[in-house]
């Protein structure tokens, strides 16, 4: 297997792009990534695209080909493959790109993620997001996606000493980071009271515990490490790429409050990279809800079960903390175009490792990305090193 490096990254602003279509969103992100990499479209060997639900959001399947076409790659017949694992689609697209390069099959590969969510109403998008979980046996009973994470929160707070205020601190910290990120959907600072006074969505989760509905796209370029210096002076190495699955339904899990797929993917990633927790300088984790960030930090092994709330309230995961988490603002403040999120995590880590995260820069040489599909039925973990 060949070593793989990221040589370029690009990302649209995240938010509500009323005037921009699905295909234009992608073209923007792709062009930014290629420009950053100093690569032209003619040189691309393959494209992997993460997208959850264009079939339902914009009635379009066959997204890989669509995107290759509008990115101007059809003339060269560049292979383009869509991968889908709900909210982990982006992370999986990156992983497939890494595997394709590692195999020796391809040399210059773009991994991208895109989602156009605001073309449908809120009720419809709630319904669509529920299709990331078990439609037959969760959705049918009336489970919404926030409702499933709310049941994780209820179980967690029953068993561990997490307070409602500590949970709110996750959102406060991520808005603080988002305020410093020019691509973030929300750049306003909030307080614990903002969260506690927002409307209940599914007890105990309130509106400000939830990531928003977002349009956006992100793209990165990967090549064999041995060729990286042809393109850039600051390649970022892919030190590990791990993936794990679990039951589609929350009710079938071994433990409601532990995402076993996070545990498994995290362990596999550390083993692949030959690294320990103390080697990781920053984390981008999948905070689709505040409780999800708490679980992620613990399930990846950065602290014991039950401690992440206290650590967050103490500032350990803030920009200046022992282990900065979600310097981008996370899904909560940066926004969560589901298929794009996993690629945006790579974008953020590369920006940080290259020292280009102006205004929110942390001191980091190694970063970890953690991308979750559904309530944990798919988890993808990557470790990147400068």
């Amino acid at each position: 297997m060949r070593d793989v490096a990221v040589i370029g990254v690009g990302c649209t602003e995240f938010g509500e792009h009323w005037g921009t279509s699905f295909r234009d969103l992608f073209v923007k992100a792709g062009a930014l990534a290629l420009e950053d990499a100093g690569v032209t479209g003619e040189n691309l060997d393959a494209l992997y695209v993460g997208n959850m639900s264009a079939g339902r959001f914009v009635e379009q399947e066959h997204i890989g080909a669509l995107i290759a076409d509008y990115a101007g790659l059809a003339t060269n017949h560049v292979p383009s493959t869509r991968v889908e694992a709900a909210c982990a689609s982006g992370g999986l697209a990156f992983r497939q790109a890494v595997i394709a390069v590692a195999s020796g099959m391809e040399d210059i590969v773009v991994a991208a993620g895109v989602e156009k969510m605001t073309d449908v109403g809120t009720g419809a998008s709630v319904d669509m997001l529920a299709s990331a979980a078990d439609r037959e046996w969760e959705g049918f009973a009336g489970a919404t996606f926030p409702g499933l994470y709310a049941m994780i929160a209820t179980d967690y707070m029953h068993r561990y000493p997490l307070t409602r205020e500590q949970l709110a601190e996750v959102a406060v910290k991520n808005h603080e980071n988002g305020a410093k990120n020019p691509i973030a959907q929300f750049r306003n600072r909030i307080t614990v009271d903002t969260v506690l006074n927002s409307s209940l969505v599914a007890d105990p989760l309130r509106l400000f515990d939830c990531s928003p509905i977002t349009d956006g796209a992100a793209a990165v370029v990967v090549v064999p490490l041995e060729r990286a210096r042809e393109f850039t002076d600051s390649p970022v190495r892919v030190l590990a790429s791990a993936q794990a699955s679990d039951t589609i339904a929350l009710h079938d899990r071994r433990d409601i409050s532990t995402l076993d797929a996070s545990v498994a993917a995290g362990k596999r990633a550390f083993a692949q990279a030959g690294l320990a927790h103390r080697d990781i300088d920053m984390l981008e984790v999948h905070d689709c809800f505040t409780i999800a960030e708490i679980c992620a930090i613990e399930d990846l092994g950065f602290c014991k079960k039950g401690e992440a709330g206290r650590l967050t309230a103490e500032g350990a995961t803030a920009l200046g903390g022992a282990i900065p988490v979600n310097t981008s603002g996370g899904l909560k403040a940066c926004g969560h175009p589901v298929g794009a999120t996993g690629i945006k995590q790579i974008y953020e880590i590369v920006s940080q490792l290259r020292g280009e995260a102006t205004g929110r820069q942390v001191d980091a040489e190694i970063g970890m990305a953690h991308n979750v599909g559904g309530t944990g039925a798919t988890v993808v973990v990557h470790i990147l090193g400068a």
């Binding site: 489970a143 339904a249 009710h251």
Partner: protein
């Protein structure tokens, strides 16, 4: 939800009929046609659950998808059946009465109205046991 997709699982949805692996004795609801422990050596038969169980965790849904918006707020829970398997279900009780560890049993109720087809879907909910 399409009509055939709903009707296919009517025995399961109406009567809590799941499956059991006679090789290892494990029960499944929602039904499975393959035992994850015994795989191809597992023999799967239907099993009607008695509908007694305990609330493992719950929430109160205040903002729902279109199909359920007329019934908010409602209590959604993971219930562990006495035979072992867990399922996601509504608990027909006032939100403030829902508790972890609460004993519940199954009842046959209207679950959702499908705006698209106008169909009303019935199925199993749970109520607090006396």
């Amino acid at each position: 939800m399409s009509v055939s997709r709903f009707w296919r699982k009517i025995p399961q949805r109406y009567n809590l009929i799941g499956t059991r692996c006679t090789t290892c004795g494990r029960y499944f609801f929602p039904p499975r046609s393959l035992c994850p422990d015994c795989r191809r050596s597992g023999k799967i038969v239907d099993h009607k659950f008695n509908g007694e169980g305990t609330v493992v965790t719950y929430t109160v849904i205040r903002s729902a998808s279109d199909q359920f918006e007329n019934t908010t707020p409602y209590v959604l829970a993971v219930v562990e059946l006495d035979e072992g398997p867990r399922l996601t279900t509504q608990i027909a009780c006032p939100p403030e009465e829902a508790k972890i560890g609460m004993r519940v049993h199954s009842v046959f109720r209207r679950v959702a109205a499908d705006g698209e087809s106008g169909t009303i879907h019935y199925g199993t909910k749970f109520v607090p046991a006396e």
